[in-house]
């Protein structure tokens, strides 16, 4: 990496960083007890980012072992930065940082890439078999995904950081089709299950086979359930749905690059402004949200971000009041502050952007059973199917796999096709309960899109079930 940084400096960069990244994936999918797909992939290369006369340039190549190619890529990055000066702009300034030399690695007890394929396939086949045994089920799918990223970062300021990140995930999905309906139940979460920064021990603890029959039974029962009615009601969301609620209506609007309109053309901006810190009421006093890159098990956990800033825990919302953004060295400098370390790139091919680390709703008190028991009339929704929110992250609508009516503290009638809609700060303002640590789990969202060219980030969210009053449900 040092060679790449020196080449960029020689070509005229005032600042340069170089990241070598090797990503490895293994993915296995079983459908109706047959192999649907089994594949492995690897990709490595180097991305070189430079500042020249206050403008950014970035170039990347897969031929990272060829010194001449690395030199020409570094020179191209500088050429790109110079071309950017065609339009006037306040020169980019970077907030201060203490360059470090360090290594960091995910804590994984059992390397998922060394566990035999036979064992993995056998687990998925058994889960699929148990789901398929439920009469009326159309499809039973089971899947495992493993991811490893090795990276080395060097900067012209002297940082030299090597990191190894390991993620493991698995899940099951049962699909029932009939009478113009397609109903799906997933476990432990939708969109390929529960993914964590961990080794294969995480898969062993998921209980995929143990939950298979229940999941399949619920999918079939949903076919004959009533549609979620259109009404305003008290709504309890389970932890996995709270993940999407936090991700879309808190995680994205607190990205400082969105606030500064750097993402306006594609993903959009934010309703938040710098002056809102310490002033804006984001939610009720029960709402406490953190962005914590040090959280064990989170997909947004690392030692250092892709600018070499140490992982941090940042209070985003405290007792309902908005406190801070997620920032980078460039955006923090605009506010005259230091970066809180959230810059990450998708692979080696892309430049780092502000990405969610682990944006979590901090736990409150009590169990889910107690919360339902405390609810006279309302609805309980579980497991996300769909998300949509406007370009400033104000008006949202989410769909879930399943809901139950709550009457006098008990779950009663099952409801299909549930969804709900709201306005971000009004919704969080209506939160009157968050379950406690015993219900709190760090979930993974491996498919967060942002940027041009499009990048995908792996983010984490700690959530517990929570209750909201006066929510509009059943949008048709």
């Amino acid at each position: 990496m040092r060679h790449a940084v020196e080449a960029a400096r020689k070509a005229g960069a005032d600042y340069a960083d170089a990241r070598w990244v090797l990503e490895e994936n293994e993915s296995i999918t079983v459908k109706n007890e047959e192999m649907e797909g089994i594949d492995r992939s690897r990709s490595d290369g180097i991305g070189i980012r430079v500042l020249a006369n206050g403008f950014w340039g970035f170039a990347a190549t897969a031929r990272s072992e060829d010194p001449a190619e690395v030199e020409s890529t570094a020179a191209l990055a500088v050429k790109i930065a110079r071309a950017a000066s065609r339009l006037a702009m306040d020169p980019v300034r970077l907030s201060e940082i203490e360059p470090v030399t360090d290594t960091w690695e995910t804590v994984a007890q059992e390397d998922p890439f060394t566990v035999s394929l036979e064992e993995k396939v056998s687990l998925l086949m058994e889960a699929s078999r148990r789901m398929r045994a439920v009469p009326g089920l159309s499809f039973s799918e089971a899947m495992l995904d493993f991811y490893r990223k090795r990276s080395a970062l060097a900067t012209s300021e002297g940082a030299a950081i090597e990191q190894t990140i390991t993620h493991s995930g698995g899940g099951i999905e049962a699909t029932a089709i009939g009478d113009g309906e397609l109903q799906r139940r997933s476990f432990p979460n939708s969109f390929r299950g529960h993914i964590a920064a961990a080794g294969y021990e995480h898969i062993r603890a998921l209980g995929l086979t143990e939950e298979a029959e229940r999941v399949a039974t619920e999918a079939v029962e949903l076919l004959s359930a009533k549609d979620c009615p259109s009404e305003e009601t008290t709504l309890i969301l389970d932890g996995p749905q709270m993940v999407l609620q936090v991700h879309e209506s808190v995680g994205h609007p607190i990205e400082l690059d969105r606030v500064l309109r750097m993402e306006e053309a594609f993903a959009g901006t934010s309703f938040l402004e710098p002056g809102h810190r310490g002033q804006l009421r984001y939610g009720s006093e029960l709402v406490n949200i953190t962005a914590d890159a040090t959280l064990a098990g989170g997909l947004g956990t690392f030692g250092y971000d892709d600018e070499g800033v140490p992982a941090q825990r940042v209070q985003i919302v405290e007792d309902g009041v908005f406190r801070d953004f997620m920032s980078s060295r460039e955006t923090a400098a605009v506010l005259g502050e230091r970066s809180n370390g959230t810059m990450r790139a998708d692979g080696w091919q892309n430049l780092p952007l502000i990405r969610m680390t682990n944006v979590s709703l901090e736990p409150g008190d009590g169990t889910l059973a107690e919360l339902i028991g405390d609810t006279k009339d309302g609805m309980f929704m579980s497991t996300n199917t769909s998300w949509s929110i406007d370009d400033k992250r104000v008006n949202f609508q989410f769909g879930c796999e399943i809901a139950w009516r709550i009457k006098d503290g008990n779950l009663t009638e099952m409801l299909r096709n549930p969804n709900y809609t709201g306005i971000t700060t009004e919704f969080w303002g209506s939160c009157d309960a968050v379950c406690g640590p015993e219900e709190w789990t760090v979930w993974g969202t491996p498919n967060c899109g942002k940027g041009q060219p499009g990048q995908v980030a792996r983010t984490g969210h700690g959530t517990a079930p929570a209750r909201f009053r006066g929510v509009r449900v059943g949008v048709r």
Partner: protein, 450 residues
């Protein structure tokens, strides 16, 4: 700038994997792609990138079992190593009785003019100049954000059945959101094989005029409105309809919104939708990622649902031939149409506005997603220019609205189809060639504050 590797060299690399001994079949997908993207915001270039990448994806078939391994080491050694890794996967995989075999040898059409050397070699300076032209169209108090991208790729598919196909393509896009003044924004985009065909000045002006004309948007109650949907908004409907409906495997398995409804007239007779990668009006490859030649597939003809697209797996399932719409393996979702067309009609947007007694003119939708897959109901927000239309005239801009509506219902209620189609994109989908539409009784279920 990188240059094409060429068919011969890619074939030579693939043959290193085809030499894998003791297996029933090997398929090698080799890709070399490069390009640059100049991204701007606040009327300045803030993120500008270039990259060159390669990929080798090897699918090995052994004793009825299938494994796939990929690497970005585009060398004979890399291909051979990926083949060995895929073989290892087959040894642990269960048999795949539905595997249809690798594509047989077949001639692939050669649509001329898909690769433009100037676009493949476009410099950051040239992209910056185009962006400067676009930004220069913004009036005082307005600022532009967007991206100008130039890319090129080579794709080669080689298999042990003797099939070999190769194509080089280029692509250029420019898109812009202009905003400012006292609130309001406008959007425009353009796609081509050739960067030289793009008109950044026209795109900038179109987005600026929309931003200028959407100042001080007013509140409006959600409800059912007749709508004039411009091409980018129509692209959202068509892309999601493809996702929910046109996959041959999804139709066969009952997952599609068209399962059990093939042959039914579900939409207005003004609606004809087809996929045609070979048309000069689209971008992309003349073969799919299994090496099957692409061909035109009629999906909806004058409102009647004709069918879906197939890869080899769903074709075998349905006892038909693959239409050449396979995605790279492994692909549990099945075939997908990447070159969609909604056939134009005979109305202009102005005609449609004039014919609207009370309704909304919509530039585009944002962050849409599925509400009910079998009814093809989706939800999303308007963005970058929405206006109230009364008595055939655009009255004033309105704040963004949330729609929740069935695409099939919308295409059933089409009153007029635009005479000019354009390539327009929907977030993560490829661009479709679509005209504007006038649709009656389109349902908006919520509102935002801007």
């Amino acid at each position: 700038m990188p240059e094409p590797i060429g068919a011969d060299q890619l074939r030579g690399i693939a043959e290193a994997a085809l030499g894998l001994a003791g297996v029933d079949g090997v398929e090698v997908l080799a890709v070399h792609d490069w390009g640059g993207l100049t991204r701007f915001a606040d009327s300045a270039i803030h993120q500008s990138t270039a990259r060159e990448d390669t990929a080798v994806k090897v699918r090995v078939v052994s004793r009825g079992r299938v494994g796939v391994a990929s690497t970005n080491d585009l060398s004979k050694e890399g291909a051979a190593a990926a083949a060995r890794s895929a073989l290892e996967l087959t040894q642990m995989a269960a048999p795949d009785p539905a595997f249809p075999g690798l594509a047989p040898r077949a001639d692939v059409p050669d649509p001329a003019d898909r690769f433009d050397e100037a676009t493949a070699a476009a410099t950051p300076e040239a992209r910056a100049e185009a962006v400067a032209t676009l930004v220069g169209t913004c009036g005082d108090g307005f600022h532009a954000a967007g991206a100008h991208e130039t890319t090129a790729s080579e794709v080669a598919l080689t298999n042990s059945e003797g099939q070999f196909c190769y194509a080089a393509t280029s692509q250029a896009t420019v898109s812009a959101v202009v905003s400012g003044g006292e609130g309001g924004a406008g959007y425009a985009e353009e796609w081509s094989h050739r960067a030289g065909d793009l008109d950044p000045e026209a795109i900038g002006l179109r987005a600026f005029h929309k931003a200028r004309d959407s100042q001080r948007p007013r509140d409006i109650e959600p409800g059912r409105y007749d709508v004039v949907l411009e091409a980018p908004a129509v692209a959202t409907l068509v892309a999601f309809l493809a996702y929910l409906g046109f996959g041959g495997r999804a139709i066969a398995e009952g997952r599609s919104c068209f399962s059990g409804r093939i042959g039914e007239k579900l939409m207005s007779d003004r609606i004809t939708i087809y996929d045609d990668a070979l048309s000069p009006g689209t971008l992309g490859l003349p073969f799919d990622f299994e090496g099957t030649p692409k061909r035109r597939v009629d999906l909806v003809a004058e409102g009647v649902v004709i069918g879906g697209v197939h890869d080899r797996r769903s074709a075998k399932q349905e006892s038909v031939e693959s239409t050449g719409h396979a995605l790279p393996p492994p692909n549990p979702h099945g075939a997908f149409p990447l070159n969609l067309f909604l056939a134009p009609g005979d109305a202009s947007v102005e005609d449609m506005v004039r014919a609207t007694e009370r309704g909304l003119l919509v530039t585009r939708f944002h962050y849409s997603n599925v509400v009910h897959p079998k009814e093809a109901t989706i939800t999303g927000m308007t963005r970058d220019g929405t206006w109230l239309v009364e008595d055939g005239e655009v009255k004033h801009p309105v704040k963004n609205l949330r729609f929740t509506h069935s695409i099939i219902e919308a295409l059933r209620d089409v009153e007029a189809v635009g005479s000019e189609a354009e390539l327009a994109s929907e977030f993560f989908f490829s661009a479709s060639s679509v005209p504007a539409l006038r649709v009656s009784s389109f349902q908006f279920t919520g509102a935002s504050d801007h």
